[in-house]
């Protein structure tokens, strides 16, 4: 089974918080100036990956 997870490139992320707003599962949190992702809650719907203004989020297997 392939397990997918969202990875944040912290060197790219501009911490706008948009990924948090589009995440239905409440799997993402913008903590001050960094993003935290709860892999347990993430369903790999890829909405955050699509939204990101800089492409800092990536779904990986």
């Amino acid at each position: 089974m392939i397990v997918l997870a969202v990875k944040v490139n912290r060197y790219k992320c501009g911490y706008c918080g948009g990924c948090v707003a589009v995440c239905k599962e409440t799997a993402i949190d913008l903590v001050e100036a960094f993003i935290e992702i709860d892999d347990e809650k993430c369903t790999s719907c890829r909405k955050c990956e699509r939204f990101c203004p800089v492409g800092a989020l990536e779904v990986i297997s």
Binding site: G14, C16, G17, V20, V22, E32, A33, F51, P53, V54
Partner: protein, 397 residues
Amino acid sequence: MKDEYDVIVVGAGPAGSLAAKEAAKGGLSVLLIEKRQEIGDPVRCAEAVGHSTASKYLDFDEKSICTEITTATLILPNGLEFVLGSEGPEIYKGYVLDRKIFDRELANDAAKAGAEVRVKTAATGLIIENGQVCGVKVRHLGKEKEIRCKIVIGADGVESKVGKWAGLDTTLKLEDIESCVQYLVSGVSIKESDIRINIGNEVAPGGYLWEFPKGNNKANIGIGLLGSRVKNGARPIDCLNKFIEEKYPDAKILEMHFGADPVSSYMEKYYGNGFMLAGDAARMVDPITGGGIETAIVAGALAGQRAVEAVEANDFSEKFLKEYQKRWEKEYKNTFKRSLILKNFALGLTDEIANQYATEFKKQNIKEPIGFDSLIKALTKMDKTLLLKLGISLIKS
């Protein structure tokens, strides 16, 4: 930090600070928390605001104003430009702000009114008992603490969690949020009283690219693309870089800003037992302009005032707090309704049709600046479907 307050406000942006100020002015004990270590930073906004309704609740301080705006220039895909502004004797007035100063001063106003302000203090959850919100779980410097209160005001921005914790669905669809990047650039000569809006599917699919003067040869140049139209390789940052390389090759980038702007229009319901949401947290952003500072200021002030009334009446039920939503919508319901129709109309336009309308309109030699209402009127003459949609909405309201 005490163990109990009348009101806890989550988020020290314009909505939160205004809410805290109004509540404190009314004699309540107020805690205003901000998760970041510095209020107003990093900037996530194009910083333009109209003078209008917001000035009822605050004085626009000189220190916070970079430039005074009287017109907006709309640039079509074919290069045709239209100057929008006031047609009447009164000149339109708006500002491009320095949000770092502006936001901090608003928090200072709240502090001066008596609110306690805590930075680097994040909300991590709500205390909910029998369906009533009655406190906030916070984290400060790694330490967790539960603080009780009568009312929570969630002004926690686009990434808001307060509404979700309280059971509202605040998730935005990709077609309801703009993905934004902005640079504060130096070395651009741009008229200081005019903001420039570039539209079209080449330059900014499902959004627009803005050039806002910041004074002293500086400008906010930024772009918002509709989330559902963002493509790999043509993300906001790529489109913005392309524009700046072509138009301002000598510009120096002083700051980079990233943002997310809700364009869904405000939520159906943004209050409940023991809580109210204000500003971006309640999606109070004008869907056509993307502006949300003014609406947040008004919302914050109204929420703070309702909190005072709730404490006086000792009633924190959703039935009592509903009045807050009523008051905010009295101010903005019709504007937002029209903006939503215009947004959907704009999203459906091809560049060819937009160019064609622009050419037709230019031929009429209408005196500029053109009022926003006149522009819409002219559009409805050329596009009967828009006329129909706006007409139906008028009948319904």
